[in-house]
Amino acid sequence: MGTDTTALEHFDALIDADERIEPSDWMPDRYRETLVRQIAQHAHSEIIGMQPEGNWLTRAPSLRRKAILTAKVQDEAGHGLYLYGAAETLGTPREELLDRLHTGRQKYSSIFNYATLTWADVGAIGWLVDGAAIMNQVPLCRCSYGPYARAMVRICKEESFHQRQGFQIMLELSKGTDAQRAMAQDALDRWWWPSIMMFGPPDAESVHGDQNMRWGIKRFGNDELRQKFIDATVPQADLLGLTIPDPDLHLDEKTGHYVHGPIDWDHFWDVIKGNGPASRERMATRVGAHEGGAWVREAATAYAAKRAAAAGQDGAAA
């Protein structure tokens, strides 16, 4: 490869041909930085996302649900690891990325700053939050950056299973006792608006949209994905016999799309800024686990060093 211009032309050509950029390819600094941030924040979201559902592992009301939820939380840890791995191919080690999370320089999806108050919240998260995440993530399976796209393919497969399980929980509750139905409705009441906010603010207000679109990091606008999600989800709520907590929600016969009421974007930005109901708790748990576990990681490092030294000596002696 000759000059930077040639490298950029080559890069642009790959992008234009909808081909994958791999770790060994040249890439603009901004592309690399944007991806590191996006992939890392996605990874952080998986890790932090273990907490609201992890909150119900010990209390799951049947052994089958306990097993399914445990498998889900385990998957989320795995997703986090894949994604940190993908981010590491761009040159930043996991430890540095975690440090950015712990010090607030990188964020995670704000949806996880809400509290899971009942067992039905576990169902609502699977149904709505994973549902919204899938909407956001399926397009990323065709993201220009290879390692990220491949991680997303693996993740999307598992996440659609999780979403079905969440919906199953809601279905059982809505067919169940009065108390179960009330629990399901209450969870929907609390998770609906935060879930549709997961797609981010209206495109008109979005900052990085265009460049990310051009680079194949983002494929669809926020509003388009949000609409897609709502159109898919309203019939599911009808099937459950539950009421979406939006009095303005109605079907526009002409367009065939559901029109929703005004979203409280002030609340959205407030939660982004760290004032969500469980924001402090999420970080305290994450940082607490990391700092509390430092002696364990140090021990593992020390042990590995001892083994390496012994192997070195064995090699020398041999």
Binding site: P61, R65, T70, A77, G292
Partner: protein
């Protein structure tokens, strides 16, 4: 209650109660790989418990109304004194060394136990054992590795790991107790003979502790009672938490 039922429940409770303690650690582990490993452990143990509880219900046979007790009956609708797990697995989580120590001492028992049970004359227990042996081999590999890393890591980790083993030791004797309930089952080839299991357990533990540069504790007086339904004070809290949602909705399905 028929000896086979009590015996089966002892194994099922051992698995479920241990899984419950592990689930409490998830999102608090020292690294993400451990959150994964511990939840994987828990998942396997829950699976073992489900199979054993289902079998216990079949052996107990239909109740007055004709129904058979299912896995959730045993998990959510029995009271404290009816749980017959050994005390070791119900101990509250301490630091990571204690969690690993408890796991290791358990896995070093469970592997030879399930290996012996593959030869059980009870077809169901033998089948459960066949699956459990594979799972437990992985579990033991994991816990063994951590005992060694922590024992032969830093001074701090060594101290914590030694303290954990020293504190847990008094709960190991109960794993190898047998009583009238088990004698006939052992004689019939249904139940594994604890003496044989103990020999392998001790051999594994001795080797691992040595590799970890840890001292093997002397056998002192052993704590006991779990297998007879007499638990420690932390158990009623564990049970209360585990059963709270299910019991708030009697008759509900999930």
């Amino acid at each position: 209650m028929a000896p086979l039922v009590t015996y089966t429940l002892r194994q099922g409770d051992r698995a479920l109660v241990l899984a419950q303690r592990l689930l409490e650690v998830v999102t608090h582990a020292p690294e993400i790989e451990e959150d994964m490993a511990l939840s994987n452990l828990a998942l396997d143990l829950i699976g073992q418990a489900r199979a054993l509880y289902t079998y216990a219900g079949e052996v107990e046979g239909p109740t007055a109304d004709g129904s058979v007790r299912d896995e959730d009956h045993y998990a959510y609708w029995r009271d404290q004194h009816e749980f017959v797990n050994p005390l070791l697995v119900e101990l509250p989580n301490g630091d990571f060394a204690q969690v690993i120590g408890r796991q290791f001492l358990h896995d070093a028992y469970a592997l030879p136990y399930w290996q012996a049970m593959t030869s059980s004359t009870d077809a169901t227990l033998s089948a459960v054992a066949g699956k459990a042996v594979k799972e437990t081999a992985y579990h033991l590999r994991h816990s063994h590795s951590w005992v060694v890393r922590l024992g032969d890591g830093t001074e701090e980790s060594h101290t914590r790991m030694q303290d954990a083993i020293d504190e847990l030791w008094r709960y190991t004797g109960e794993l190898f107790e047998s009583d009238e309930i088990e004698h006939e089952l052992i004689a019939a080839g249904v139940a594994a003979d604890p003496a044989g299991v103990r020999e392998q357990w001790h051999s594994t533990v001795e080797a691992t502790l040595a590799e970890a540069t840890l001292d093997l504790p002397d056998d002192g007086p052993m704590q006991s009672g779990g297998r007879a339904g007499r638990h420690g004070e932390s158990f009623s809290y564990l049970l209360g938490e585990m059963q709270v949602v299910a019991r708030a909705h009697p008759g509900a399905t999930w």
